[in-house]
Structure formats: structure tokens, C-alpha cells
């Protein structure tokens, strides 16, 4: 219960941040050339000034900027993100449709990066400055420097064009109707390459942090005690070192949540996944500013909720956090 209270307090503290982001981006978008009505008129194939004025009045765009901002925030409280003139639907339903692929992709990439980062980090730290460490650290540096979209394209060339093992893009095969387990497998095969592509840079970061924190914890007194007790090395690492060495990794998940969401914009475009990131890109290209603002809101919410979960995990891993208040 105390854990929940603590994390809840952190969550409450992020509300002002959220409002700050919304006000900032809302004001920023006022500088954008053209507004929703311009976009709609372009879609309709032009129209006279009277219609435009009528529409602006209908959407409340003739009000002063502070009044518009007030309106927008008040609508947000009721979870109304406005209307997308490009998609002809409320922004919230456009975003909800696009959310599942992104969440699936982020979860998969994070698990991949976290698991292999942990394993490789431990292997590297166990053989510090010997060849497994050198190999893993070098690979980590190269992965870190690889542009994700480029890695994705090259993966398509190798695995989809030459080997023809995996589909080059899309979320599921739309040619055939599949149900149940076959549909799951189909979606999974479509997500293999995007997951690797998005996860690569995070794998590099995680293994570096894991290696460093393992090295740090391995030198602590209590580890020497555990060894002196006669525990074998595997036992020492899994039972005693890992739990403490994991803390920086967990912190990193929270810090990197935003970066990962940003990375999915590029990865979803490479693999034409119908996700939130691709929607962000499309709304920039199509000047659908209402949708763009909605995405800003939803991605900030996502980052805040990831951090909430991270706080919970953190408190479970390290009881001192709750004890200290």
C-alpha cells in the first residue's frame, strides 16, 4: 500500500508537467502556417471566405488564443481531443485505433532489449577485459551507432527480399482471413523485424549499463561475504548481485520510454505499421494539427504511465525506497 501511495504521489506530481506540455505545444502550433479550417477547405476543393468564416466560428477558431486554449483544456478534461478533418473522425478514436500496434511494438522491443541487455551485460562483467567482454562491448558500441531506420531497411533486404523468411512490412496479412492462434502467429511474424530494429539501440544501452552496475556491485562487501559463505559463483550472481545491479536498468526504462516512443515513429514508417508513430508522421505531412496535438497528449500520458509502473517495480526491488518515505 505504501508503495502505491508513493508512486501515486509521483503520478500526481506529473499532472502540472502534462498541463505545461499541452499549453506549450498548443501555443507553438498557433505559429503553424494554416489552421484546421484551411486544411478542410483544401480537402473540399476550396470555398469562399464566408464559408471559412462560418467554419472558424463553428470550431471556435475566431476566439482569442487564451480563450481557445481554455476551451481546449476544458474539452481535454472530458477526454475530447477534437475532430480530425483529414480522417473525418474524432481524434480520440483515430488514436485508439492506432494505439495497439505501438504498444505491442514497444513492449516487445523493451522485453527484447532488457532481457538480452541483462544477459550480455552479465556475461561481459563476468569476463571483464577478456574476449567475451571485448566482443560484447564492441558490438554494443556498433549497435549504439547504427541508425535504426537503416538497420530496418537492411533487415528487409536480407530477411524479406533475399531469404524471404519474414514479411517486409504491415501489421498482419490482409490477403487471407485468419483467426485465433494463426492470427497471433501472423502478427508476431510481422513484428519480428520491427522489434529487433527498435530494440537494437536500447539493447546497446542496457548491456552497457548492466555491465557497469554489475562491476560496481561485484566489488561490494556483501558479495565477498556471500562468496566467503561458500556459495558458488552462479548462486552469488543470481541471488545476490542481480537484484541490486538491476536497479539502474529499471531506472533507465523510465528515462528511455519517451525515446522509445520517438523511435517507433521511424520504425513504424520503415515497416508501414499502422501505429501511433506513423500517425504522428502522417499528421505532420498532412498538416492535421488537431491529431498532432492529440498524439502529443497521448504520448506524454504513455511516458507518465510507464514511469508510474517503473516506480512500482523499483519499490519492489529496493525496499529501502519505501522505508525512507
Amino acid at each position: 500500500m505504501r508503495i502505491l501511495g508513493l508512486a501515486g504521489r509521483r503520478l500526481a506530481a506529473s499532472i502540472p508537467t502534462l498541463i505545461l506540455i499541452l499549453i506549450g505545444v498548443f501555443l507553438l502550433l498557433q505559429f503553424a502556417p494554416g489552421d484546421t479550417v484551411d486544411a478542410m477547405m483544401a480537402q473540399m476543393g476550396g470555398g469562399d471566405a464566408a464559408t471559412a468564416k462560418e467554419l472558424r466560428k463553428f470550431y471556435g477558431l475566431d476566439l482569442s488564443i487564451p480563450a481557445q486554449l481554455g476551451n481546449y483544456l476544458w474539452r481535454l478534461v472530458r477526454l475530447d481531443l477534437g475532430f480530425s478533418s483529414i480522417y473525418g473522425k474524432p481524434v480520440s478514436s483515430v488514436i485508439i485505433e492506432r494505439l495497439p500496434p505501438t504498444i505491442l511494438l514497444m513492449t516487445a522491443s523493451l522485453s527484447f532489449a532488457f532481457f538480452f541487455g541483462l544477459v550480455f551485460g552479465v556475461i561481459a562483467a563476468r569476463g571483464v577485459n577478456r574476449w567475451p567482454d571485448t566482443l560484447i562491448s564492441t558490438l554494443g558500441l556498433i549497435f549504439y551507432a547504427t541508425p535504426s531506420f537503416w538497420f530496418g531497411l537492411m533487415a528487409i533486404v536480407v530477411f524479406s527480399v533475399y531469404l524471404q523468411w519474414l514479411p517486409p512490412g504491415g501489421f498482419e496479412d490482409i490477403g487471407t482471413v485468419r483467426t485465433g492462434i494463426w492470427r497471433v502467429l501472423d502478427i508476431a511474424s510481422h513484428l519480428v523485424l520491427p522489434t529487433l530494429t527498435l530494440g537494437l539501440i536500447f539493447l546497446a544501452i542496457y548491456l552497457r549499463i548492466m555491465r557497469a552496475s554489475m562491476l560496481e556491485v561485484l566489488n561490494l562487501d556483501y558479495v565477498r561475504t556471500a562468496r566467503a559463505k561458500g556459495l558458488d559463483e552462479t548462486r552469488v550472481v543470481t541471488r545476490h548481485v542481480l537484484r541490486n545491479a538491476l536497479l539502474p536498468m529499471v531506472t533507465l526504462i523510465g528515462l528511455q520510454a519517451g525515446t522509445m516512443l520517438g523511435g517507433s515513429v521511424v520504425v513504424e514508417s520503415v515497416f508501414s505499421l499502422p501505429g501511433l508513430g506513423r500517425l504522428a508522421y502522417e499528421s505532420v505531412v498532412q498538416r492535421d494539427l488537431n491529431t498532432l496535438l492529440g498524439i502529443v497528449f497521448v504520448s506524454a500520458l504513455l511516458v507518465i504511465s510507464v514511469n508510474f509502473v517503473v516506480d512500482l517495480i523499483y519499490a519492489r526491488l529496493d525496499p529501502r525506497i519505501t522505508a525512507g518515505g
Binding site: L29, A145, P147, L215, T259, L261, V284
Partner: protein, 276 residues
């Protein structure tokens, strides 16, 4: 002098420095080796690399020399990476220094703003900035700088927090120095080394951010940049994959070089942390 010696004792750091010098040499010699406009038509489209001695790395979809674009692209990447990093570090130092030095409500307000920037995915913010201000070379560079300052700001703030009550600062205060003098004349020089080392991380990320933006065709289309070329090569990926592959390797090498130099500097300046 010790730090320089320590730097050159690390093979990785030396390799990074050599790679970085090669990229810089490419940027400098671009105009001399390829005097013609890199975006002008040069020959038949889609000539494979090493098949025609006139185009060592082949030509792209519209018959432009890939090697020339790689050389000119080095200029763009280094320019955007360098200037955006300078902007990010400058904003970061100002915000971090004031927040860390004054504390209290100044710290509260500045850190709230920093948090807001960190909560919003930086690539999404970059998209918003490009949507609003357009995508010329100048706006893209400034936008990349503007989304990259929170981490250096936090670092500077942490340094200031640990330095602001040291004896030398109190001595300065007793001598009647003004706050501004204390911040920029006394504390900042001591807080600077870790921030400068961190600049290499910022620069690596800045180069990657710009190339991703260019790949999505949201960066300046009128300059020869590596990201633009990868985006262009995507249309012919199935057969002429080299159009995308070559500029990607250039980005990889540049970012690797910058990170290696940064890590080498870090190890040379903080010898106690070496091997971590």
C-alpha cells in the same frame, strides 16, 4: 598532459579519433574532390558501385554520384551535429547553472520545464517543431538543438549543486563577488568537464535525429545529406539496396567515431572510472 597521454594509451579512443579525422577530412575535401554540385545529374541512374571508375560508389535513382553525396553529406552531418550540440549544451548550461545555483523556486520552475521536455518524446517534439517552422537547414538544426538540452541541463545542475557551497565559492562570496560572477567565473569552469564529455553523446544523438528526419523526408531536401539519400534509396531497395546501404555506413562510422572519442575523453579525464 597526463590526460592526453592517457587518451592515446587507449586503442579504442585512438581508433575513434582517426575515424573522426577521416570524416572531417571528407567534409573539408568535398568541394575540392567533387567541384560540381553533388545534387546535379552526373550519369546514368543506378550504376552499381565499383562497376564504373567514374562513379566509385555508383549513382542513385536519378543518376547523381553517390560518392559526391557522401562527401558533401559529411559536411551536413558535422555541421548539424556540431551546431545543434552547441545550442543544446548552451541552453543546458544556462538552465542547469541557474537552477543549481539559486535553488528554491527558480530551481522548481526550471526543473518543471526540463521535466516537460523530457516527458514529451524528443522525436515527437522534433516533428511538431518541423511542422510549425518548416524544414530548412537552419530550422532543423535549431530544432534538433532545442529538443536535446534537458540531459546536459540536469548534469550541469547536479554539478552546481555539489559545488555551490564549496570553500572557494564561499571565499568568493565573502570577497563580495556578484552571483553572475560566481556562476560563470568560479563555479562553471569547475562544472564544465563532465558536461563537455557529455557533449559527445548529445552530438551522436543529434546526428542520428537529423538523419532520421531526413530519411522521413522532413529535413531540408535541397542539401546532400546521408539521411536524404537513404530515404531516396528506399524506393529501389529490393534490387539496388546499395543506394541506402552506403550512406548508412557513413552515419554509423561517424556516430561511432564521436562516441569513441567521447568515451576516450571521459576515461582520460576520470582515470578512476576506467574500465567501467
Amino acid at each position: 598532459m597526463d590526460a592526453v597521454k592517457r587518451y592515446f594509451r587507449s586503442p579504442a579512443a585512438v581508433a575513434g579519433l582517426i575515424l573522426l579525422l577521416i570524416v572531417i577530412a571528407m567534409a573539408v575535401s568535398a568541394g575540392w574532390l567533387y567541384p560540381r554540385d553533388p545534387l546535379a545529374l552526373a550519369g546514368r541512374p543506378l550504376v552499381w558501385p565499383f562497376s564504373n571508375p567514374r562513379f566509385l560508389l555508383g549513382t542513385d535513382n536519378s543518376g547523381r554520384d553517390i560518392a559526391a553525396q557522401i562527401f558533401y553529406g559529411a559536411r551536413i552531418s558535422l555541421l548539424i551535429g556540431g551546431v545543434a550540440t552547441a545550442i543544446a549544451i548552451l541552453i543546458g548550461i544556462l538552465v542547469g547553472a541557474f537552477a543549481g545555483y539559486y535553488g528554491g523556486w527558480v530551481d522548481n520552475v526550471l526543473m518543471r520545464i526540463t521535466e516537460a521536455f523530457q516527458t514529451l518524446p524528443n522525436f515527437v517534439l522534433l516533428l511538431v517543431l518541423v511542422a510549425v517552422f518548416g524544414s530548412t537547414l537552419t530550422t532543423v538544426t535549431i530544432a534538433v538543438g532545442v529538443v536535446s538540452w534537458p540531459a546536459p541541463a540536469r548534469l550541469t545542475r547536479a554539478e552546481f549543486l555539489s559545488l555551490r557551497n564549496r570553500e572557494f565559492v564561499q571565499a568568493g562570496r565573502t570577497l563580495g563577488m556578484k552571483n553572475i560572477q560566481l556562476i560563470f567565473g568560479e563555479i562553471l569552469p569547475n562544472a564544465l568537464p563532465p558536461v563537455i564529455v557529455y557533449a559527445s553523446v548529445v552530438m551522436a544523438v543529434a546526428i542520428l535525429l537529423e538523419s532520421a528526419l531526413a530519411f522521413l523526408r522532413l529535413s531540408d531536401p535541397n542539401v546532400a545529406s546521408w539521411g536524404n539519400l537513404i530515404g531516396l534509396g528506399r524506393d529501389v531497395l529490393r534490387v539496388q539496396w546499395y543506394v541506402s546501404a552506403i550512406p548508412g555506413i557513413a552515419i554509423l562510422v561517424t556516430v561511432l567515431a564521436v562516441s569513441l572519442v567521447g568515451q576516450g575523453l571521459n576515461d582520460a579525464l576520470n582515470p578512476r572510472l576506467k574500465g567501467r
